[in-house]
């Protein structure tokens, strides 16, 4: 039986194809891993956004509670010792609607 001798070009082609396939497979695996990693990151970021939204809502509520007129009046009277002006102590400018 005579063994066929491969030409240099044929060997180069095979090597090249093998490397190419390995590269594609490596890229595919890398791509998959990156997709999964980005997916995780996206999930984490979405959770973060959700938590931040909740935090913002909480803070808005706190702000609303702290700025309530009842609270402001309490601080003005008790902490700053302010008193309500009498009617004649108020000087009004003309209102421009």
């Amino acid at each position: 039986m005579v063994r066929k001798k491969y030409t240099r070009n044929e060997i180069t082609l095979v090597v090249f194809c093998t490397i190419f396939i390995i590269l594609i497979l490596t890229f595919y695996v890398w791509h998959q891993m990156e997709s999964v990693r980005i997916g995780y990151e996206e999930g984490e970021l979405e959770d973060k956004v959700l938590n931040l939204r909740k935090e913002v809502e909480k803070l808005e509520l706190l702000k609303s509670s702290l700025l309530s007129l009842e609270n402001v009046e309490k601080i003005a009277k008790e902490e700053l010792k302010l008193v309500k002006p009498k009617e004649k102590q108020i000087v009004y400018d003309d209102f421009n609607p």
Binding site: K54, S64, E70, V91, F95
Partner: protein, 583 residues
């Protein structure tokens, strides 16, 4: 092999095959029984063992005031529940509950309920719902097996008791129980989702799956203005503490649109700290309580007389006796007057004069005008539990009824109906449905249909004449304590004796004091009704209710930057100061 043995083997094979077939048939029958006939029952048993479907309560919509200030919002908090594992000794379970008691401050009643549920071998037990974040952390540090947390939403009201009756309450499952929360529950609550919990053989939860995403509730914008609401509540509280009255209610509105800017009740409660309370505190008296209006109803009597052309502004009425006999009953004035003109009867609130005006009308006409003003019917305000008041049909009227109605007796009204009456006058005869919800931010058309409803009740001429008369009430009549520096005010006081069911007579000690009015007269920006029930000491509407109107209106007009009609001395000084600074 001999034929004998061959036959024997054959026989044995047949017997064996028979038993095998019998066994197989038995198996098949059992299989059919389990897989076909018992399938639904067994499937349910399996599902119950390893699956649990639970609703996901959606986030409830936020309620804002007209300027976008938060009045009610739901935030996520944790709820604690217990899933006892099978075979866990009762003592161990109790030990766990006792540990929880310390952290969660469980009451004895709560503890007894929990113990009863554990005894019954219930698989899911709520320990405490909607706990504080600090307590949640303490519990997590205990790392007790079988104790789990579930995120739920809790309703928070940043202003505590502000507009408590108006906003209303929600129950533990975030379903509206009263007020706006109840009325607009379908819009606010959204749509429930559903999740599936998978459990292992020991009933431990190992996987959650969302079957249906919840749809969050929509936000609601009210016509209420937080600042005006605050002014109103403070003024009402002050009056209530000064007079020692049983309860009081005030409504502030913008007559040109029918928008309610404030609605206050006293006594009130903190929405964040709900405790069991008597019905009188829980109810929104502004739309719920019926009362006899007394002299504020003379607005309707005067309207009917002017509209029917049975009398005019130049007619005089003899009120010099200070009393009048009607069907054997004596009705008196609060003081003796002489001969009064039509406007003076209203300005000085003469009962004798008002009865004579009422007598000039025929009953049917008077009945129709009262009905046209909306008495005996709901105003249509978008609040729950609105009362219609009590207005008897014409065929049940007695001989004294027209006289009683002329001065605001034999009829029960709500505060919102009296506000509607003054709004009709302020709008020069046009009635608009009062409303509390502005619109829905995400779905602006959702409530659009309800917003527009205009109806002419009185001719423009009659209404304008009444405006002048009511302005006179505040300038020189019973309502002088409602005057506001720099603004023109129109209004009417009312003081009604309360009916005492125990004696079957009108009481001489219990009264309902009220005031209805609007300002400025030419272009009304505000209309207000004040009702104070059973004030002690001073009890006249002029003394008790009119000053409340004055306080709320003066602050609110300044806040709304409504220009003053007449320049006060201070304004002139301020003008000069500004001019000097500019130079």
């Amino acid at each position: 092999m001999s034929i004998y043995f061959q036959k024997k083997a054959h026989k044995r094979t047949i017997i064996l095959s028979f038993f095998f077939m019998l066994w197989m048939s038995g198996l098949i029958v059992r299989l059919v029984q389990l897989q076909v006939f018992d399938h639904p029952r067994l499937k349910a048993v399996v599902i119950d063992q390893n699956q649990n479907k639970k609703p996901i309560i959606p986030k409830r919509g936020t309620i804002y005031d007209t300027k976008g200030n938060i009045l009610a919002r739901s935030l996520p908090v944790q709820s604690v529940y217990y899933v006892p594992s099978k075979g866990e000794p009762y003592n161990l379970k109790l030990e766990k509950i006792n540990k929880l008691k310390k952290v969660l401050d469980l009451s004895e009643i709560e503890l007894q309920k929990l113990k009863a549920r554990i005894k019954k071998d219930v698989t899911f037990i709520w320990i405490k719902r909607k706990i504080d974040p600090e307590k949640e952390e303490q519990l997590r540090n205990l790392s007790l097996s079988g104790i789990y947390f579930m995120e739920e939403n809790k309703r928070f009201y940043p202003h505590g008791q502000l507009a408590a009756h108006l906003l209303g309450r929600v129950n533990i499952d975030e379903t509206g129980a009263s007020g706006i929360e109840y009325k607009y529950d379908p819009i606010l609550k959204g749509k429930e989702g559903e999740h599936l919990i998978l459990k292992d053989a020991k009933k431990r939860e190992y996987r959650f799956e969302i079957l249906r995403e919840p749809e969050p509730g929509k936000d609601l914008f009210l016509t209420i203005d937080e600042t005006i609401q605050y002014y109103t509540e403070k003024a009402l509280e002050k009056a209530m503490l000064e007079t020692g009255a049983k309860w009081g209610t005030v409504i502030v509105a913008r007559p040109s649109t029918g928008e309610i800017l404030a609605m206050a009740n006293y006594p009130t409660y903190d929405l964040n700290n709900l405790l069991p309370m008597p019905t009188v505190i829980d109810r929104n008296q502004a739309v719920h309580h019926n009362f006899e209006p007394g002299s504020t109803f003379k607005i309707v009597t005067a309207s009917a007389a002017l509209e029917a052309n049975r009398t005019n502004l130049y007619d005089n009425f003899d009120c010099s006796k200070g009393y009048i006999y009607i069907s054997g009953k004596t009705i008196r004035d609060h003081k003796r007057f002489g001969v009064l003109s039509f406007p003076e009867v209203i300005i000085h609130s003469s009962n004798v004069g008002a009865i004579q005006i009422g007598q000039s009308l025929d009953k049917e006409r008077f009945y129709r005008v009262i009905q046209a003003f909306g008495f005996g019917q709901k105003t249509g305000i978008d609040l729950p539990a609105e009362e219609s008041g009590i207005f008897r049909p014409l065929d049940t009227w007695s001989r004294i009824s027209p006289a009683s109605l002329s001065i605001g007796y034999e009829i029960s009204v709500t505060a919102i109906q009296m506000l509607q009456t003054i709004n009709i006058i302020a709008n020069r005869g046009v009635a608009l449905t009062p409303r509390i919800v502005k619109n829905n931010l995400r779905f602006p058309n959702t409530l659009k249909k309800k917003l527009v409803s205009r109806k002419r009740i009185l001719s423009k001429g009659t209404a304008s004449e009444l405006v002048s008369i009511l302005e006179g009430v505040v300038q020189e009549g019973t309502g002088t304590s409602a005057q506001i520096r720099g603004y023109t005010v129109a209004g009417k006081t009312g003081t009604a004796q309360k009916f005492d069911p125990s004696t079957g007579r009108y009481s001489f000690t219990a009264h309902t004091a009220s005031f209805v009015g609007f300002a400025p007269v030419d272009n009304p920006a505000l209309s207000i009704v004040v009702v104070i029930d059973d004030p002690q000491g001073q009890y006249y509407g002029a003394e008790v209710a009119a000053p409340v109107f004055r306080e709320i209106a003066s602050q609110s007009l300044r806040y709304l930057r409504i220009p003053q009609q007449e320049k006060s001395l201070n304004t002139i000084i301020a003008d000069n100061l500004l001019k000097q600074r500019e130079k």
